[in-house]
Symmetry: D2
Subunit: 313 residues, 4 copies
C-alpha cells in the first residue's frame, strides 16, 4: 500500500496528513475543531479532502481521545467531545469512500514512535505520553495491544495513591494526577506559595502571582536553575519513575518511550525519571533494565501512527 | 505431539506428571525437594524418570519460582532456592534426553488455567495466584506474554501503597503485602489482637493466641461467620479488587482468573473481590467489564501448564 | 458573675443567647448573616441588643470560624467571611459597652461540651466536631488550650494521607477530607455510582441521581439499612477512629467528645468510630482507654461555650 | 530546694547525676544496665548512692523508656526492659530514702531542654527526639503535659502513612518509621542498593556492603557531600517537617526543639526540616510560625530534666 492519511483530532484543530510508507508526512491540512459530533465528522472529511487532493490515498486512520471499541470503529466515550457510542468509522467511510480505522490517540502516538521514532528496532515497548494528562500505548510482540474490548493502556488512571487526589475520571489517586503537565504546574504553584522567596524566577514569569504560573514557565525557570522549578520537575519525575518501575514489573518491555509536552524538556526531565525508575525497579540487580527513551516525533506521532495503522489495515 | 511431562518444583516436594493433549494428568511421580541446585537437578530427573516409565514422552516443561530468562532456559534468580543464572534447561536436557522448557511457575499455572481451566474460550486473560504471596501470568492474543527479558507478570511487586509495607523483594508497598495469604493472616492477627472479644472462634482455632492464628483458621472461622475473619477477607478483597481494577485499565482482558490457596474459599473471597473491583474500575459505566472467575485446576495448574508449554515448544 | 451572652456566627444567621451560670440559655435573638465585615459587626450588635433587652448582662463571647489571635481579640483569617486581621473585639466592645471575648467557634463548642455537656467531670478532653468539615478544641488541665498564637486545635487539617485529596486550605490529605459530613456524601456518591443496584434507597432519596444525594439522605438510608449508606458511614468511621487513635497517642485525654451534625446519628456513627479507634490505638492492651462520647448540646454548644468563656474573662 | 539527682536508664548504662538549680551537673556516677527488673532497681540505687556521696541531695528523678502512669510512680509497660506495672517509685524510695519521681525519658529530656536548653523563654514547646526511634514531650503553659493517664506525647506512633510500614508497637505507618535514626539508615541502604555508583563514599564507610552502612556513616558521608547520604537526610527531613506541620496545627507552640542523635548534625538536618515544615504548614501565610530549634543539652537532657522534675515535686 502506498499513501495513507492520518488524522489527529485536537482540542482546537483537526489535522489530516498524507503519510508515506516511511512515516514521512508529505502534506498536512488543518481545520478548526468544531463542538458537535456531526460538525466534527464534517471537519474530519474536509481536512482529509484538503490533504488528499491530487494524491492517490488508500486509507484513513483517525486518532481520537477516548475509549475506542475493539473493532476500531466506534468511540465509546470521549472526555472532551460529546461522543457516546459514536460510529465514527462508518460515518467517515461513507463520506470519504476510503477504509477508515479509528484508534485511541495515545495508542496511535505509541505506534508512531514504535514504527518511525524512538521505538525502532524494539519489539516490546511501552509509550507514555506526559501531556496535560498521562496516556500511552502498549506494543508487545510488534503489535499494538488494545485489550479485549479496545480500552487497554489507560495508564493515566492506574491508582498509585490509595485515597489520593480526585481525578476527572471519578477515581482517586490516578497516576496522571501525579505525573503530567497539570501535576507539574500544581507542584510549582504549591511550592511557590509556600516558599515565594525561592521561586523568584518562576513568580516573575507568572506575572507575580502563584496562579499565573503555567507549565511553560516551570520549564523556562527550571532551565535557569530556579530551585522551585527544578524541584517541581523532580517531584514529577519521582512519580513518573515509580510508575515505570511498576510497568516494568508487569510488562517487562525493552524500552519505555516518554513523549508528550513534558518530554520536550528532554534530559531535564528524563534524567530524574530514569533515576527514580532505577531506584524503584524491583529485582534491579538481577534483571536486564528497560531503556527510558525520549520520543522523537513530537506532536506528529499520533498523526503518523494513525496513518500507519490504517495502512496495516 | 502426544504426551509431555510437567514438573512443579515446590518448597517441600517436586512433582512430575505425564499430561496428555487434553490436559489430563495420567500419572504423577513425587520426590522431596532437596536444598542445593545440583541435588535439585537430580531430583527433577528422578521425578521425570519415575513418571515417564513405560510411556512415550516427548518433552518436559518445568515450572520454577523465580525470574526465568527470555529463552526459557535459565533461572536468573530465585527467591527460595540458591539459583543464580542457573542453566536448568541445559542441565536437565543432558540428563533426560528430551527437549526441556523452563517457565516461571505462576506463568505456567496461568497457561494451565487458560488452556484447560477457567480461561477456556478467552483470548486475553490475566491470572492472579493468591497463595502465600501474589503471582500471575498474562495471556494476550492467545499467547503467554513473558516480556522482553522473560520477567513480565510480576504482579505481586507492583507498588500499591507509596511508602508502604516492606517486601522481601526490597521494595515497599508491594501488592502481595496487601493481597495474599500472608496478608490475610496479618489482617486476622491485627484484628484479633485489637478486638479479642469479637474473634473468639478465630482465637480458639489458633490455640488461644494471636500468633497461633494461621490461614486455614481464618478460612474456617469466616465460614462460621466469625466477624473478625470475615472482615479480614473483606480487607484482602478490598486490595485485591483495587489491583484488578488497575490491571483492567492496563490490559483490558476479557477475564481475570483468581487462583492460589486463597481462592479455595470460592465465593467467600471472590464475591467481595468482584465488589471491590467493580467499585474501583475506571469508566465502569462505559466499558464492558472483565469477568472475575475462580481457577478450576487447583494446585495442578502449574504442572499441567508446564507440560502444555513444553508441548507447544 | 451572672448572665453573659454567647454569639454564634453561622453561614446564614447570627444567634445571640443569654446564658446563665449553669449553661442554660434564657433567651435567644437571631438575625441574618450579612456578607461584609462591617455589616456583620452591625448584625452582631443588633443580635446582642435583641437578646439582652431587659437583662443585666455582664460580658459577650463571640464564636467565629477562623483563626483568632492569642489575645482573643482579632480574627486573623476566616475561610468564609472576608476577615483579615479583623479587630472584632474592639469593634463590638465599642458598640455594646461590654467586655468581649472572641473565640474560634470549634473551641467555643468544645468548651461548652466540657462545661455543661458530655465532658462534665473530665479534666482532659478532646472535642471533635464532625460538621461539613472537621474542627475541635482541646481542654487540658481544665483549661482551653489555644496555643501560643491562638490557632491550636486545627484538627481538620492534620495530614492523614500523604499526597491525598486537595483541601480548601491548600494542603493535601487533610483529615477533614476523609472524616466530615462532606466526606460522607462523597463516599455515598462514589458507592452509589459504582453499585447503583445496591443503593436503591439512597438514590431514591436523592431524586434518582448520584448528584442528588446529600448528607441527610445518607443518614436516612443508613437507618433503613441501605448497604451503601451503611458502608459510607463505616468508611467515615474508619478514618475518624484512626484519627482519634493518633490524638490519643499525642494528648492522652480521658474522653473524646464527638459533636457536629454527623454525630446527630448517635450510635449509628459512634459505634463504628469506637471500633476503629480501638483497633488502631497504639499500646491498647497496656493503657487505659479514653472514652468516646457523643456531644450533648447539639448546635447550641458554641453559643453556650462562648458565653461561658466570656464569663471566665 | 537545693540539689537533686537525675537518673537516666539507657540500654547499656544507668547514669545518675547530681544537678543544681541551674541545671548544672555537678557529678555523675555510672553503672552497667542489668537485664532484670530487680537488678535494675539495685543498679539505680547503686548509681544514686555513688553520685550523692557527700552531698545533700533532696530528691531523685528517674527517666525511663516506656509508659509511666499518671502518678509518676509505676512503669506500666516498657519496650526494652521487662517492666509490666513495675512500681519503680516505691521500690527506689524504700531503698534510697528520698522522694522519687518517675518520668518517661523523652518527657524528661523535653523538660530539660525547656528549662535549661533551647526552650528557655518559651511557654509552649514541643520537643522531638530523633534518636533510634522518635519520641518527645509537650510543654503547654509552662507545664509538662502528660495526659490523663500519663502516656501523652507518644509522637513516634502517630500514623502518618495509612497501611504503611509495620512498627514494633504493632501499628502501621508510625512516624518513627519515617523520621528517626533507623529510618535514615534504611533510606541510605535502599538508595545505596539501587544506585551504588552514586554512593561510593557511603559504601566505603560501610566496608563495601549495603548492610554495613550505619547512621554515623550517613552523617559522615553527608558532610562530604555524598549525594545518596544527602538525599537520605532530605528524605528524613521531608517526613520530619511534615509531622511538625501537623503538630503545629494541633498544638500551635512557639517553638519546636529537635534533639536526639540525628540532631547532632545540626543545620545539615535542621535546614531541610525547616523547609519541609514551612512547605506543609497549613495557613502559613496567615499565622505566626513556630521556630524550629536544635536541642542544646545533647544526651544530658533527660538526666537534667528528670532531676529538675524531682525538684519541682
Amino acid at each position: 500500500m502506498g499513501l495513507t492519511i492520518g488524522v489527529d483530532i485536537g482540542g482546537t484543530k483537526i489535522a489530516a496528513g498524507v503519510v508515506d510508507e516511511e512515516g514521512t508526512i508529505l502534506e498536512t491540512h488543518t481545520v478548526p475543531t468544531p463542538s458537535t459530533p456531526d460538525a466534527i465528522v464534517d471537519a474530519i472529511c474536509s481536512a482529509v479532502a484538503g490533504a488528499s487532493t491530487g494524491r492517490d490515498v488508500e486509507a484513513v486512520g483517525i486518532g481520537a481521545a477516548g475509549y475506542v471499541d475493539d473493532k476500531r470503529a466506534t468511540v465509546i466515550f470521549a472526555p472532551n467531545i460529546d461522543w457516546r457510542h459514536e460510529p465514527l468509522k462508518d460515518k467517515v467511510e461513507q463520506r470519504v469512500g476510503l477504509p477508515v480505522v479509528v484508534e485511541n490517540d495515545a495508542n496511535a502516538a505509541a505506534w508512531g514512535e514504535y514504527r518511525f521514532g524512538a521505538g525502532q528496532g524494539h519489539h516490546d515497548v511501552i509509550c507514555i505520553t506526559l501531556g496535560t494528562g498521562l496516556g500511552g500505548g502498549i506494543i508487545i510482540g510488534n503489535k499494538l495491544r488494545r485489550g479485549r474490548f479496545g480500552v487497554a493502556a489507560e495508564f493515566g488512571h492506574v491508582r498509585i495513591v490509595p485515597d489520593g487526589l480526585l481525578c476527572g475520571c471519578g477515581g482517586q489517586g490516578c497516576w496522571e494526577q501525579y505525573a503530567s503537565g497539570r501535576a507539574l504546574v500544581r507542584y510549582a504553584r504549591q511550592r511557590a506559595a509556600a516558599t515565594p522567596d525561592q521561586a523568584r524566577v518562576l513568580l516573575e514569569l507568572g506575572d507575580g502571582t502563584v496562579e499565573g504560573i503555567e507549565g511553560k514557565h516551570v520549564s523556562t525557570a527550571a532551565r535557569q536553575g530556579d530551585p522551585v522549578a527544578v524541584d517541581s520537575f523532580r517531584e514529577l519525575a519521582r512519580w513518573a519513575g515509580a510508575g515505570l518501575a511498576d510497568l516494568a514489573s508487569l510488562f517487562d518491555p525493552s524500552a519505555f518511550i516518554i513523549g508528550g509536552g513534558v518530554s520536550d524538556e528532554g534530559e531535564l526531565v528524563l534524567e530524574p525519571i530514569r533515576k527514580s525508575f532505577r531506584r524503584r525497579l524491583i529485582g534491579a540487580q538481577w534483571r536486564p533494565h528497560a531503556q527510558v527513551l525520549v520520543a522523537q516525533l513530537g506532536n506528529k506521532a499520533g498523526l503518523v501512527g494513525a496513518a500507519d495503522l490504517a495502512r496495516q489495515g
